[in-house]
């Protein structure tokens, strides 16, 4: 069934590629747009003045448009670059290349880059949010600590499980379903300090693109979203720097030429003050984190560019020398970009990423570590067949090594025995083809196919269970019970244990209603073979990834989205509305009381469930003028269920659908920025959200002197509505000298000091013994000041 529909799909795919694009009238105007260092610029707006027509350049900086004979003024605009205008007389096919030069020295003074002229109304790409460093920096945040994930949360379809929760949730997906890439290298954990901050140093980030749906075939491996972050490339002309001093951290970035015009470097570091927060009290606790980013870029010749990106970050928490918690990500990636000719270029990259977690409990006398790492080799070709047909195709292979846990006693009299859990090994191979095609002036399509082949290798020892069933069901007590293996056999880690081959079709279409209005639709299937074992609402740093295998099947997502896009002609507003529906198969869920830490036999505590989410997104945005900003609104629902494997079994939550812990029915964000004058800029951010789903007790029972709350069902109640207003003002004094500029940022987080509940705990007062509901709120009003500079 799946096979035949895939074959059909392939057939349609090849049919479409061969369609003759001869229906439109006129001639082709095409060309390439390059920057001052001869790098192609994607996303440049090509506007045909007076005709209300236009297009955008593709990933290779190429554009093409059909025009009737006549005289035109071609306007080439891209934020941060000087607009170029050229008059042409057009009477046959013509190639016109442009070189853009930066508007100011300062590329950062750029606003949100997408949709500025409403031109991508034409592109079949949908469900994508783009932010660049400067708009991220405008959003007021707690402690004035500019944060990439905090800014993502202001966009429609993106939420998290509350203040201080880790990660982010896209269109009702789980945190571990986001593919996070920095310069194409994999990131396993995006959080610092359990989620208060994210690992992305905003000074090292050039821009980011978040795919919530319609994900092109060159991405795979996670089912919910792709967060594609690009680091800045160093300046090839002269040495520059920027930095800042804030309440939480200080940072410094240096960039400049290694060899002028040819090669450049960028290094960026951010560190919190040692003993952040905790040192304020008079004890021996400490907590800090830091990030180091680097990028080296070599323009070898016109056809070849070589670059290296690297990152190393660490979180450290030490409480009274008895509890030490250390974790962090690191990666390095080497990328070689080669242009075969004007129409074909390629990227070959090789990367290594890792995430390590370490817990040292001196109190008990042991050290616990777990880690995941991967090597990733991929090759992609971007190929322009003709002005109306772009292909991108390639191969990728990832090798994973997972150490689920190793326990080492740290003292001679430690009561803990040494223990090493079996490493897990897997390969994730994929081939993909993605096609961007213009069928007519009104219809553009994007489609593709990814074939993924996931190979799970054998563990060193394999447990065998009676009837192949690691999780038994006790019908008398209506509970699940871990099975005892009948035998344990040796395995060979270079032998394939299970393989999963999946076809992942992707498709999107846009239809232009008029020059400023379009409708778009998309479908994508995604497959995920790495699963984060986590039975808390929001993942913790010690959660372990596990690959698909005998008992854990690949998660499979199908998502449909439909959207309406409008660029208002006479006022500088754009509107994007989308509806989406998605289903996820094989989402694992955990039996009650499941212990996931250092558990060699995860299969004994999990069941396979499913998820679904649907919603409406609304994004109304003002891009130009002294007042800029957006209003975003999301109406959605995200839930999962895990029925029993047989009708007799109870499943989880009686097999009924239940809301995910991060579900928010209504989610409103109003983000704005106002330029008062040359010195002052005022920013504000208001959020209003339905409270998170939680559980209120429906009674209590007394047992052995304890009052135990009784819960029925899952996530049937909600925390009170969450709302908060943040303000900030940026003061930029007049430049005293040419090479140094600076600014002050004053912020107030939670201006009206609302005690938003992060949790409600129903518990027995330890002194009186009486039951009570305790509200825990994390941030009251928090003022901040920070200072930034550039040279």
């Amino acid at each position: 069934m799946i096979k035949t529909s895939a074959i059909k799909f392939l057939f349609i795919l090849f049919f479409l590629i061969n369609v003759q694009v001869g229906t439109a009238q006129g001639y082709d105007l095409s060309g390439t747009v390059l920057d001052d260092t001869n790098q192609p610029i994607p996303g440049v707006n090509i506007i045909i003045d007076g005709s209300n027509r236009g297009t955008v350049t593709n990933e290779n900086g190429k554009y093409s448009i059909k025009l009737a004979k006549g005289n035109y003024t071609i306007k080439v605009t891209y934020l941060g670059f000087k607009t170029v205008e050229q008059q042409i007389t057009f009477n046959n096919d013509k190639t016109l290349n442009f070189n853009l030069v930066p508007q100011t020295e300062d590329l950062q003074e750029v606003v949100v880059t997408d949709n500025i002229e409403g031109i991508n109304i034409r592109d079949p790409e949908m469900s994508v949010s783009k932010l660049d460093a400067s708009s991220i920096k405008k959003i007021p945040v707690v402690f004035g600590e500019v944060d990439v994930i905090q800014s993502l949360l202001q966009l429609p379809g993106v939420s998290n499980a509350g203040e201080g929760a880790s990660g982010f949730n896209v269109r009702g997906g789980a945190t571990d379903q986001n593919l996070i890439l920095i310069d194409d290298a994999l990131i396993y954990n995006s959080s610092h300090l359990f989620g208060f901050f994210s690992i992305f140093n905003p000074d090292a980030v050039k821009n980011l693109k978040l795919y919530k749906g319609g994900i092109p075939a060159n991405y795979g491996g996670r089912v919910s979203s792709v967060l594609d972050i690009k680091q800045k490339t160093g300046n090839t002309q002269k040495l520059k720097g920027e930095g800042g001093i804030g309440v939480i951290s200080s940072k410094l970035t240096l960039e400049g030429p290694i060899q002028k015009d040819k090669s450049s470097f960028l290094v960026s570091g951010r560190g919190t003050y040692a003993h952040l927060f905790l040192k304020l009290t008079d004890n021996s606790n400490s907590a800090y984190f830091y990030d180091l980013n680097t990028k080296l870029n070599f323009n070898i010749d016109e056809k070849n560019t070589l670059s290296f990106s690297g990152y190393y970050g660490l979180d450290y928490v030490n409480i009274n020398d008895s509890f030490t918690n250390i974790y962090g990500n690191a990666f390095g990636i080497l990328d070689w970009e080669h242009k075969f000719n004007e129409n074909i270029n390629s990227n070959l990259n090789f990367s290594y990423s890792q995430y390590n977690y370490e817990l040292d409990l001196a109190l008990v006398g042991f050290n616990f570590q777990n880690s995941i790492s991967n090597f990733d080799l991929s090759y992609q070709i971007n190929h322009t067949i003709n002005p109306n047909l772009d292909l991108s195709y390639g191969l990728s292979s990832i090798q994973y090594t997972i150490n689920p846990g190793e326990i080492v006693p740290t003292t001679a009299d430690s009561g803990i025995n040494p223990r090493k859990l079996n490493n897990k090994y897997a390969f994730d191979n994929a081939a993909f083809l993605s096609v961007n095609q213009s069928l007519s002036d009104k219809i553009n399509i994007q489609y593709g196919l990814r074939v993924s082949a996931f190979l799970r290798m054998e563990d060193e020892s394999i447990d065998i269970y009676a009837n192949n069933n690691p999780l038994l069901y006790d019908e008398n007590r209506s509970i699940y019970v871990e099975a005892t293996p009948t035998e344990t056999i040796g395995g060979n880690t270079s032998r394939v244990n299970e393989s999963f081959i999946n076809l992942e079709p992707r498709a999107g279409i846009s239809y232009l209603i008029d020059d400023n209005t379009s409708i778009k639709a998309s479908y994508n299937r995604m497959v995920q073979n790495l699963h984060l074992l986590s039975n808390t609402s929001s993942p913790t740093p010690f959660d372990v990834w596990t690959p698909s295998g005998t008992y854990i099947k690949p998660q499979k997502l199908d998502q449909f989205a439909f959207g309406y896009f409008k660029d208002f002609e006479n006022i500088p507003f754009t509107l994007e509305t989308e509806v989406f529906y998605k289903t996820i198969d094989n989402r694992i869920d955990y039996i009650d009381g499941a212990n996931l830490i250092a558990n060699e036999a995860i299969e004994r505590v999990i069941l396979n469930g499913e998820g679904r989410a649907y919603g409406l997104e609304f994004y109304f945005k003002k891009n130009t003028g002294r007042l800029t900003g957006w209003l975003s609104y999301t109406l959605s629902r995200s839930e999962q269920r895990t029925p029993g494997r047989t009708p007799n079994e109870i499943g989880i939550n009686n097999g009924d659908w239940y809301l995910n812990g991060y579900d928010k029915t209504h989610d409103v964000s109003l983000t704005s920025s106002y330029e008062l004058n040359e010195k002052w800029q005022i920013n504000s951010n208001f959020v209003l959200q339905t409270g998170r789903p939680v559980n209120f007790p429906v009674g209590q029972f007394e047992f052995q002197d304890l009052n135990i709350p009784v819960f029925e069902g899952r996530n049937l109640n909600r925390l009170p509505t969450f709302h908060r207003l943040d303000l900030s003002a940026t003061y930029t004094p007049e430049k005293k000298n040419k090479s140094w500029s600076s600014s002050w940022n004053f912020g107030i987080y939670n201006v009206y000091n609302r005690r938003n509940a992060a949790s409600l705990n129903f518990e027995q007062n330890t002194t009186t013994g009486q039951n009570e509901a305790v509200r825990f709120s994390i941030f009251g009003i928090v003022p901040s000041v920070s200072y930034s500079f550039k040279f």
């Binding site: 929760a165 300090l193 359990f194 989620g195 927060f277 009290t281 004890n283 606790n285 009274n320 008895s322 109190l363 326990i407 430690s414 009561g415 803990i416 025995n417 209506s478 039975n535 808390t536 609402s537 929001s538 955990y590 009650d592 009381g593 250092a598 812990g661 559980n695 209120f696 007790p697 429906v698 009674g699 209590q700 029972f701 007394e702 047992f703 052995q704 002197d705 304890l706 009052n707 135990i708 709350p709 009784v710 819960f711 029925e712 005690r755 949790s759 409600l760 705990n761 129903f762 027995q764 007062n765 009486q770 039951n771 509901a773 305790v774 509200r775 825990f776 709120s777 941030f779 928090v782």
Partner: protein, 270 residues
């Protein structure tokens, strides 16, 4: 743990995090039977005096207890000897002739309102607490008194433990459960730390030998206390015990029938 860490982190971060007691309107489910039938045999005693409590669930904020009277309760050992529990106060049933025996299989029978409730468990042995260590610079703050109660886990067998710490200032004992997965055969400890511990206080420390099933039950039960909240907590669960209604297998009964050998030490804080 995570919330404690957050509070610690938050409180000192500009003193903006806070906890306060709020009023919440709660729904109330239909009352269900609770069977609190844990028989404990303290080392060095004859274990003849035992009691079992029956009650029903009530609203979470309801303070009046909801005892269940008029049941007939009996515990049998594997050779058929029966121990009758008589109601001594409303909802509390007791016997003074129980005969505990290590590893013996016991069964519980309760007759109430025409239904018969049953359960079975083994009486689990436990090793003794061999010493107490006191550290005056313990806990998260490094300033609290911390007690370690040491015991030697028997090697080569699966053991499960319940520790209870009784203090003069806490309204109910502190419970913690352990298995021996990572310390089989070793000398290890139960741990207790509270900022209100002070020299001169008498602390009752108990170690109970428990079954694997009772351990799983307690793990889920203890996770419910103070549950339902934070992003780093697990989902609340229905705490299913080992008591079943012979007449109606669908009836959900709270509580547990368990038997433990117990060692108790009364420690005076130095």
């Amino acid at each position: 743990m995570m919330r404690k860490f957050f509070i610690l982190l938050g409180l000192v971060s500009l003193l903006s995090a806070c906890e306060d007691v709020v009023e919440v309107n709660l729904e109330e489910a239909q009352p269900r039977l609770i069977v609190d039938a844990i028989l404990s045999w303290e080392k060095g005693t004859d274990g003849a005096n035992q009691s079992i409590k029956l009650s029903r669930t009530r609203g979470f904020f309801e303070q009046e207890p909801n005892p269940v009277s008029g049941a007939s309760i009996a515990v049998n050992n594997s050779s058929g000897k029966e121990f009758i529990f008589e109601e001594v106060t409303s909802g509390e049933y007791a016997t003074d002739n129980f005969e505990p025996e290590l590893n013996e299989l016991y069964s519980l029978t309760i007759e109430l309102d025409g239904s018969v409730y049953t359960a079975e468990e083994n009486l689990k042995p436990v090793v003794a607490i061999d010493s107490i260590e006191q550290n005056d610079e313990g806990g998260f703050s490094g300033e609290d008194i911390e007690l370690k109660a040491f015991y030697k886990d028997p090697e080569g067998v699966e053991n499960y433990y319940l520790f209870k710490f009784f203090t003069p200032f806490l309204a109910f004992p502190d419970f913690s459960v352990f298995d021996d997965e990572f310390n089989d055969g070793n000398r290890i400890f139960g741990l207790f730390s509270e900022e209100d511990l002070e020299p001169g206080m008498e602390i009752g420390i108990q170690i109970h030998g428990i079954s694997r099933e009772y351990y799983n039950f307690l793990e889920i039960l203890l996770a419910q206390a103070g549950s339902a909240g934070g992003p780093f907590e697990t989902q609340p669960a229905t705490v299913r015990g080992n008591i079943k209604n012979e007449n109606d297998s669908e009836e959900l009964i709270f509580g547990y029938f368990g038997l433990s050998e117990v060692d108790e030490v009364i420690y005076t804080i130095q």
